[in-house]
């Protein structure tokens, strides 16, 4: 071959989008994987405890490309040193899984191994989760017809008052003008560079909701039961906030008598003694009467218990629930029942047939999601 052929060419590749298309498909599959993991994510501690964080790390089942392969950890490998390596040198240490972190069970023989973390914004996670949920029996409240006015800064203009100057855009204009005239840099800001933020008044319908979170804090409610209730209320509050402008939560703890408590007390304090659920319902009725007029508020009483009520109190409970239902959008009863006992309270509640009354039994962490879906079920459009 005396003169091998060669060609140099440079084509227009801008229409070659295959890599991006398949990348999108992969991301889509990652999202699907997150979705499938929603039941686990809903009760994931790191999310529930991540107050205010906008980005959360969620464990998802990785989209591994499975194949028959060797166990890397059990094989020998050849490496290369800088000339002074010796037998016994430690090249690296595998990070020990943090004790107690991750999930305890269900992830194969080495827990947590097939999970990798991906970052997702709380908002995106919520959107995914709430896609499945709907507020049943939304009622028009008087106040919804009321309007509140709000100010939104959403425009930029060349004229305005100095207190509303948009410094960043002013500088950008200056940079642009200077670069255009051949003297790049920030200098000589003139009135024509100035940019101002401008607002608009918008009218928003005003809507309110209140959650009456009731929980049994008698001796039989352990940390697991409380954690379940906490996860549930966490998501419920967030969900209602997407629907209403303003959501109040009132925490009512009860054993044989009911008390309004702070959030912290609600989830941390434990009491001993028996259980009389009707005390909480009575308290809830009182609060609605004094503070949350159902004409103005969407009222959501939710009660979490282990179902271990004083038997003689059950009848009274059913009556009070009837009264509560009159002033509420819905009443939810969640029973945390790890061992699937038959509970006295539940047997009484099975006889309530008001569609506003919903109950759900939660046996394990993963079922918090199920509970959310039971209470906020998507109803057929009528």
């Amino acid at each position: 071959m005396t003169n091998p052929l060669f060609i140099v060419s440079r084509e227009d590749w801008s229409l070659h989008r295959k890599g991006y298309q398949d990348q999108t498909r992969h991301q889509q599959k990652v999202r699907e994987a997150i979705k499938q993991n929603l039941p686990d994510l809903v009760s994931d501690e790191s999310i529930i405890m991540s107050d205010g964080k906008q980005i959360v790390k969620v464990p998802i089942k990785s989209l591994d490309e499975y194949r028959f392969r060797y166990n890397y950890n059990k094989a020998k490998h050849v490496g290369q040193g800088d000339g002074e390596s010796q037998v016994g040198d430690v090249l690296g240490v595998d990070p020990q899984p943090a004790p107690g972190a991750g999930k305890g069970e269900g992830a194969g023989d080495q827990p947590g191994e097939d999970y990798y973390e991906t970052e997702i914004s709380m908002e995106e996670l919520q959107t995914m989760l709430f896609e499945e949920l709907e507020l049943p029996r939304l009622q028009q409240k008087q106040k919804e017809k009321m309007q509140t006015s709000d100010i939104v800064f959403n425009d930029i203009r060349k004229k305005g008052i100095m207190s509303n100057i948009d410094k960043k855009r002013t500088i950008i204009e200056n940079l642009r003008r200077n670069a255009f005239s051949g003297h790049p840099g920030i200098h000589g800001i003139t009135p024509e560079d100035l940019r101002f933020k401008t607002w608009e008044e918008v009218q928003k319908p005003h809507s309110n909701a209140v959650i009456l979170a009731m929980m049994d804090t008698s001796g039989s409610m352990g940390s697991f039961e409380k954690y379940i209730a906490r996860s549930f209320f966490f998501w419920m509050t967030r969900f209602l906030r997407t629907k209403y402008e303003h959501v109040d939560i009132v925490f009512i703890a009860h054993h044989t008598e009911a008390k309004e408590v702070t959030e912290e007390e609600f989830f941390t304090r434990g009491e001993s003694g028996g259980t009389i659920c009707s005390s909480a319902y009575q308290k809830a009725l009182d609060i609605i009467e004094t503070r949350y007029n159902p004409l103005n508020y969407n009222v959501y009483p939710f009660h979490f218990s282990d179902g271990d009520n004083l038997t003689s109190d059950n009848e009274r409970c059913v009556k009070l629930i009837d009264r509560l239902l009159e002033s509420s959008n819905m009443f939810g009863y969640g029973e945390v029942n790890q061992y699937n006992r038959s509970s006295t309270l539940m047997s009484a509640y099975r006889s309530i047939h008001n569609p506003k009354f919903q109950y759900c039994i939660i046996r394990e962490k993963g079922e918090v999601y199920k509970a959310l879906r039971t209470f906020f079920v998507k109803t057929e459009a009528n």
């Binding site: 590749w13 498909r25 499975y66 194949r67 392969r69 490496g79 290369q80 037998v87 194969g108």
Partner: protein, 474 residues
Amino acid sequence: MYPHEIKELEKAIAEITEIATGFGLDFYPMRYEICPSDIIYTFGAYGMPTRFSHWSFGKTFNKMKTQYDFGLSKIYELVINSDPCYAFLLDGNSLIQNKLIVAHVLAHCDFFKNNARFSRTNRNMVESMSATAERIRQYEIQYGTEQVETFLDAVLAIQEHVDPSMFKPYRYAERKKRPDDGTDTNRNGKPLTGYEDLWDLDVHGGANDDEEVKRFPPKPEKDLLWFIEEYSPHLEEWQRDILTMLRDEMLYFWPQMETKIMNEGWASYWHIRIMRELDLTTEETIEFSKLNSGVVQPSRHSLNPYYLGLKIFEDIEKRWDEPTQEEKDRHGRVSGDGRKKIFEVREFDSDTSFVRSYLTKKLVEDLDLYVFEKKGAEWKITDKTWESIRDQLVYSRVNGGFPYIVVENGDYDGNGELYLKHHYEGIELDLKYVEKTLPFVQKLWRKTVYLQSVVEDKPVLFSFDGKKHNRKFL
């Protein structure tokens, strides 16, 4: 790249090509394409510009592209084993980078053209893969994207299990009919009478029985893709077609996996020598040296194939240029045969034989190689004997680094079940991956699949019946 830069590059390529030819490198006509980074990375992820679409390539693409965007890694070139040979250069490479790359890819192409492992590869693979991609696209339209994707997932999970023998692999001469699948339609579409089991007794019963109970396959079959394509009773024609096409692609890529160290070593060896012949300015020489040391730098924990291959080739050349008295007497070597010898090695060897025959004690010491493994939570150097290092390196290249798995029985239990066996050679399988992969095999075979392997020195049998996994010690 501006037109005048392209002119300049063409001039340089002409010169480099002449030098390479002068050195005796023998390559196909070359097609150099200058591409933007996302295109180069697409090709890198797919292994071929025209390959079919699948999310796993998108995943790789995303990873590679992100690393590039963050400046963590950079692909300067990609070269395709084809005739004419395509080389893709990253738009934005400097002239000196491109000179090095051109020298490098010419040697790659010489290797593709002359190494024996590549002798049976399809040199029109660019077009073949393009046709495959188009066919798969049609199947997607016809049978649904999801359906095709799930099937591709399953095939890709076992794609490495082909038989890449250079010689015509042993094949079951007579095409046996597919084992009875037990469903109530037969493949010929003849109506069934409902008494098949009785007629069958008549046909197979009696004296011939022993003859009939033959092993199936008669010898353990390494080519899992071929076996499933040929004998899986339930696949649709389009599915068999995909199996065949993906198998062809794997057979095409296989020699590249088998010759990674050699191929990169060979290319590095030659780009250094070709660059030495060029008339470089001081600045260019410095830039070249920086680049070159970046390419062949040793890396901790994993071996840099460029560096290892380069060092072995240089060592071979030296040892054949200046043989010792003993080598002269015993092997009849003559001085000055170094070049001739390395050309011979590039023609006949693959990584396993290359390392086994030419990695010497002195090289192992010079390169400071070692064996390391995991002890508790720590990764420790456990061995520095040169023979262990050489052997370990050879093991790691056997069968492309994949576990060697064969079909033992395609009619296990007389029930058409698939029995696979892993030829255990001291390294356990990743058990979690076994559990995740078996369902894919089951999806292709539709009946229970078994995999025999060894765990903690005891033979173990994994199985998956479509619903649940089972693992028992034998």
